[in-house]
Symmetry: C2
Subunit: 400 residues, 2 copies
């Protein structure tokens, strides 16, 4: 065959793109897989590695979804989501934050993931740099890399409550820098950006012409009285949120973003292209979250998380593995294990294999001091947490 003669195989690789090697897999997945194997062999494993509430979705949401199914609401919706749901979210911003956010600025997305991907595609292109904290939720870093752009990691420290300083941003900023991408509450640290810090960071972003993106997917699951949305301090913020965590709808894959007015049209066009729309059933289901019955149940669950948090953080401190910073949101404890090990991956492996406690090594969330940290979630019952503490105490005594 004559094409073979013209083949340029020697200068073309038929394999996946080169830059894909920078897209990390998650250690948490390996931990979960191994934990599941150990369970199959009959061992009781305490799951502190999972970033998912352990409750099923509340009945009012389930019922609303079943009603939608009965009514045949199974076709595409508008790319930015059903109007009723955008109004409910607009009201949520008014109620929680005293903000007037027009429903037109809200786009319903397939999970927060869909919103993160959309914003990366909207704002980042090849050669750009985006400032991201280290540690942080790893996918954002990967999305930046997938755009052939560079995530510039800003190390954040426990003694500063895992908050980036303006001086760090100033130092990292250059002509390729296009934005700063934050999270409050933050995964894996459970810390929040207080109003003063958030304001300082937003002012800096505006002054330096950088986009200001804030992941607020753990909003609602916070344990401080004042948790500002980025929209309160900077009206041009890009905000990402989710029905997964506070609303307990992980498997439904539903989230939303808020964008400045002047980006609505372009964001809508990207939504059409990237995912057409979020699941209609999930959207109609989510309407059930804004009923008095659901609101009571969801607040009850938030209280349950808060009680677990108080218990778990105190108990960890007592056994010598205190949270590295105050856990003010989400359901994560980030703890320094350097008194016991200089390799958090090996530490996690030991905890799982020998003590039956599954947790996630710091390496999933960045590079900075990641060998000395582990993330533990209180997404399991009080009984399980107590058993986990017992086992950890035993483990630490043998290591200490």
């Amino acid at each position: 065959m004559d094409y073979v003669d013209k083949m340029r195989g020697s200068i073309k690789t038929p394999f996946a793109r080169k830059s894909l090697k920078h897209v990390n897999s998650f250690k948490a997945m390996d931990v979960m897989r191994r934990a599941s194997e150990l369970e199959s062999s009959g061992r009781k494993i305490i799951h502190l590695e999972v970033g998912e509430p352990d409750f099923p979705t509340v009945a009012p949401i389930v019922d609303a979804a079943k009603k939608a199914l009965d009514e045949g609401l199974t076709q595409y919706t508008s790319p930015t989501g059903i109007v009723d749901l955008k109004y409910r979210l607009s009201e949520l911003y008014s109620r929680r934050h005293g903000l007037s956010v027009s429903p037109e600025r809200i786009l319903i997305t397939p999970g927060a993931s869909g919103g993160l991907v959309l914003l990366a595609n909207l704002l980042v292109e090849a050669g750009d740099e985006i400032l991201i904290t280290d540690p942080a939720y790893p996918c954002v870093r990967n999305f930046i890399r997938l755009m052939s752009a560079t995530p510039r990691l800003i190390p954040i420290d426990a003694y500063r409550n895992f908050r980036p300083m303006v001086s760090q941003l100033e130092k990292a900023n250059n002509s390729s820098t296009k934005g700063i991408w934050l999270a409050s509450p933050n995964n894996p640290t459970g810390t929040v950006l207080d109003r003063e810090t958030l304001t300082k960071l937003a002012v800096w972003a505006r002054a330096t012409n950088n986009h200001f993106l804030v992941d607020e997917i753990y909003h609602g699951l916070h344990y401080v009285s004042d948790l500002p949305s980025a929209l309160e301090v900077e009206s041009k913020s890009f905000v990402i949120n989710s029905f997964s965590k506070y609303f307990g709808m992980t498997g439904w894959r539903l989230g939303w973003i808020v964008v400045p007015d002047e980006y609505v049209q372009q964001a809508t066009r990207l939504a059409q292209n990237l995912y057409i729309c979020a699941s209609s059933i999930s959207q109609y289901g989510a309407l059930g979250a804004f009923t008095p019955d659901a609101e009571i149940l969801l607040e009850h669950r938030r209280n349950e998380f808060n009680q677990r948090r108080v218990y778990f953080c105190n108990a960890l401190s007592e056994i010598g593995l205190p949270p590295a910073a105050s856990v003010d949101g989400a359901f994560y404890v980030y703890a320094d294990i350097s008194h016991f090990s200089d390799n958090s991956q090996k530490f996690c492996q030991l905890m799982l294999e020998k003590y039956g406690v599954a947790m996630t090594p710091g390496a999933d969330f960045g590079e900075y001091k990641s060998d000395q940290y582990v993330r533990m979630s209180f997404t399991t019952s009080r009984d399980n947490l107590e058993l986990g503490i017992e086992r950890l105490q035993l483990a630490l005594e043998s290591l200490g």
Copy 2:
């Protein structure tokens, strides 16, 4: 404030990425919006612009979803999807195509869109070129551009049944070319790639070290006896499919891809990052599609589409607007309007405003001769199609 002095605003744009201007919006959306306005004012509009089956999802799928909701199956699934569903799809390839496709090679995606985005991220990076037919489904072109890569458009002609020729690919191929991305059945033309053509194209792709990607989302909705999957002629194909069209699950956002063995791990890592998993409810619902009851209903619908197709194509030919090529799959007719107008956008506007018939101009699908084509869908009832034909006949008589 001192940051302002250091501001690099003059060399940084605080706006969306530059390359976004190439990401087209869909004229079909404007047509739908305007059609909806006209309906609000009391006019009866015939919808030939919509790419969505007009049937609600069949009961066995709805029932399976409701059962999953009752059982609390509302949490994350594995990133590649639930195992049962992957087995059902593996069996489908065996039954339809006599192929042995291991369930491990199948990834369940949030809509075919999720699969298209994943494959673009898996295989394309900045600077690459991908060969795509013109006309074609516009999103793929846009995904390539979003990766800062170049879609190299291969014009396809009605007189060749809208099939690309190897000589065209050979001419376009260069050291940056990484793959060829096809669709069979094709949107907007309704044509399919017969076994001989598909084989030739696959052989060329292999010989030139190009990835071979084929969108098969309209498989099942075809009206020829032999419609090969790309996997039959090239085991290393990347295939995209969907539960939206044949299975009638548009709003559920569920699709799948098949990748070669050696890509499974990297594709899985991308799935974790890009979307975590497809909707659990949609996945459990889809299991209901593989029951004898559902299979009878789905075949009944396929027959209904076929009857509409025969009627609509004949009637269009009689009024002087015949399909540009034989409609062998999907539910689209691509028709040449150059006897009546040299501007398909104006033609569509006139049909909608004056005659109440909504259709999509060729510009949505590419550049090549797009001003002389329109796409019409037979996704509306026989009665509506008959009324549409009456109106079009009137319109064409006044133009002809």
